[in-house]
Amino acid sequence: MRKVIAILLLAVVGYYILGTLLNLPFGQKATGVGKYYLDSTIKETGTVNTVTSIVVSYRGFDTLGEVTVLFLAATGLGAILFDKKGKKRSLQNASLIVKTSSKMIYPLTVLLGAYVFVHGHLTPGGGFQGGAIIATGTLLMFMAYRSFETNHTALTIIESLAGLTFVSIGISGLIWGYSFLQNILPLGTPNELLSGGIIPLIYIAVGFKVGAELTTVLDTLLKTIKG
């Protein structure tokens, strides 16, 4: 009986959601704010990747907020799973094939991640994607070798310095008399590596930060497994 009432209620809610979603103009030309972004991204920000220019330049404040959310999640995890005596990971070593191939793949993965976040303003990608790729490569090494250790102090320092870089770039906009997070470096010619003002610098800082953070999270989680 309860299932019937639940299904009826869900049908009513689903009908209204469907009615709302069917009225949306999907797949047509962009209007409003989106059209302005598409038209003036090269002129105003000097990057050819519109997604990057929106994420870092037009809505850079939201990106700062999201980086803070990731930082808070990693800190909260560290606070809840805090353990004064550091343990070793207690998983077994993996088989020979995994051990050998992960030693070869790991540097290539880190290189790919670094490529993705350095070229964020030219190709699809950016800081978050590059950092996640680096963390995945490190995860492969964690699972293959029991004795692969990362230096927690170094990771924390990298993370804090990268975050400080991001906020300092923003505050330097304030100091020079413009608004917070304004693009104060020269824009350069589009489609070159050194273009876009502060956008590559911010994405490099974000890439380092996300990579270090996700590695710390994975290390903390993997150390809580006993036996």
């Binding site: 959310v69 930082f71 999640a73």
Partner: protein, 485 residues
């Protein structure tokens, strides 16, 4: 000196704390204090400017609606000053109260909780509101589980599950809103919202009500609140009840007044506020643990604020803001006093507090003071705010609501005076040789003095609240200042 300092400086300090923590632990405890002192200075400097003419600050140099802008009008000025000053007092209290281990992580999460609430109040952009809601929520989940015991983990898990629903609903509402009006600036949406079909508008409003209602503890959505308030450390409970819930109610009311001004929503808010207040006050009477009782009382007072916002006239909005201000001060004082009472008596139950009034006179005095203030007795500030709320609700003809508010005030008086009488008039059960630290007593003393001052001169504070109330009700002025500054 601009409103973005409220967000940039705490973020800078939060990223600095792990580095400083590697050098010296004692220095880490001082960093939030320095940040809050500086922010209080900024708030007091900007407050007179913001009251007369709204400051609209653009971020990243792109004018609204193509970039993000912060709107520092009279309402934001008032709320930001309140949040920063109360945040400073709560830091002072937690300087000696928090002794469990990852201390630098506590201060970082605590500072971010308050910064997230400041961001909700300051922003003029809908997606930015969502980002700051996320910052506040993630810091809140981590701090609820900070004491790492079984009850704390369960309370944090409940809060996490229900809070994830809240974030999802708000995000879905923002996505639907953007797909229909193609802009994210609140002033711009207010001009374009009438071109959206009516069913879609109602659906978006329902999603916002559910999402923000979970954080503002409206009736069926506040199941997480008693556990979270009572299992978190006491200063964190003070931040939840005094700051976070106020920011959420501000966000909900700003969205409703600016974009979704339907008459039926106002009626719905009044009815929901009445139900919230009644159920919370009656549940509070049956509690055996003191911090859960305070949590239910906080939910009930927020029901009162929602009723006053729901009435929608200018005197009632002014009364609602005054009630928010007073409740933040008094509830923080009560949580502080309850924190030390629990610490000295060793157990969370009310029955363990028997006779503690003779052993620890100062802390018990602060608790009794707060209890009398929140019930609404005359020389304290709670009297004036409740009086104004009752007058404005009665002036709109809702006499049933007035009767129910008076009934729940009587219930409140019963359960608070019950605790106070156990403190002073029962025989002693436990004595404790530890003394309450000075920083806690100073924090409680500051709050007491402010409550007494506002109680004797309420018109001083009410004078600043008239422009704030006018700003919330005046759509045209907001749109003009937000888009064409």
């Amino acid at each position: 000196m601009s409103p973005v300092h409220f967000i940039a400086i705490p973020l800078f300090a939060a990223f600095l704390i792990p580095l400083v923590g590697k050098v010296s632990k004692n220095l880490v405890k001082l960093i939030p204090g320095i940040v809050f002192l500086y922010l209080s200075y900024v708030a007091i400097t900007l407050f007179p400017i913001g009251i007369h003419k709204p400051i609209v600050e653009i971020i990243a140099g792109f004018k609204a609606p193509f970039g993000i802008s912060l709107y520092y009008g009279p309402l934001a000025a008032f709320l930001t000053t309140m949040i920063t000053l109360i945040g400073f007092v709560i830091w002072l209290y937690s300087y000696k109260f928090i002794i469990r281990e990852p201390i630098e992580k506590y201060y970082m999460l605590f500072m971010m909780l308050i910064t997230g609430s400041t961001g909700i109040v300051l922003t003029g952009d809908v997606f930015n509101l969502f980002v700051f809601l996320e910052i506040t929520a993630i810091a809140a989940y981590s701090l609820t589980a900070f004491l790492r015991d079984k009850d704390g983990a369960e309370a944090a898990f409940k809060y996490l599950l229900i809070g994830s629903f809240s974030s999802t609903f708000v995000l879905l509402a923002i996505v639907l809103l953007y797909a229909n009006v193609h802009t994210l600036n609140m002033a711009d949406i207010a001009t374009k919202i009438s071109s959206v079909p009516l069913t879609t508008r109602i659906f978006i409003l329902i999603l916002f009500l559910m999402g923000l209602g979970i954080e503002s503890e409206m009736f069926p959505l506040n199941g997480w609140a008693p556990d979270a308030y009572s299992q978190a450390p006491s200063p964190v409970g003070a931040v939840f009840g005094g700051i976070v819930v106020k920011a959420s109610i501000y966000a909900l009311m700003r969205l409703i007044y600016l974009m979704f001004e339907f008459q039926s929503v106002m009626h719905f808010l009044v009815i929901m506020g009445v139900i919230t207040m009644l159920i919370a006050e009656m549940s509070a009477m049956r509690q055996q643990q003191i911090k859960r009782m305070l949590a239910f009382s906080s939910i009930g007072q927020m029901g009162l604020v929602i009723i006053a916002f729901g009435v929608g006239t200018e005197p009632s909005v002014r009364a609602a803001l005054f009630q928010m201000f007073n409740h933040a001060l008094i509830k923080s004082l009560l949580f502080f006093a309850a924190g030390y009472l629990v610490f000295h008596s060793g157990s969370k139950k009310i029955s363990a507090l028997d006779g503690l009034g003779h052993d620890k006179p100062i802390t018990s005095f602060f608790f009794a003071f707060g209890a009398l203030a929140i019930i609404g007795l005359p020389p304290f500030s709670g009297f004036w705010s409740k009086l104004y709320v009752l007058l404005s609700v009665a002036n709109s003809g809702l006499f049933a609501a007035v009767a129910l508010i008076l009934f729940s005030s009587v219930v409140e008086a019963i359960y608070y005076l019950r605790v106070v009488s156990r403190l002073y008039f029962n025989t002693e059960v436990a004595t404790d040789v530890r003394r309450t630290p000075v920083s806690g007593l100073v924090a409680m003393g500051i709050l007491t003095l402010v409550i007494l001052f506002v109680g004797f001169y309420p018109n001083l504070v009410l004078h600043w609240m008239t422009p704030a109330a006018n700003e919330l009700l005046n759509k045209a002025a907001y749109i003009k200042a937000g888009l064409f500054h």
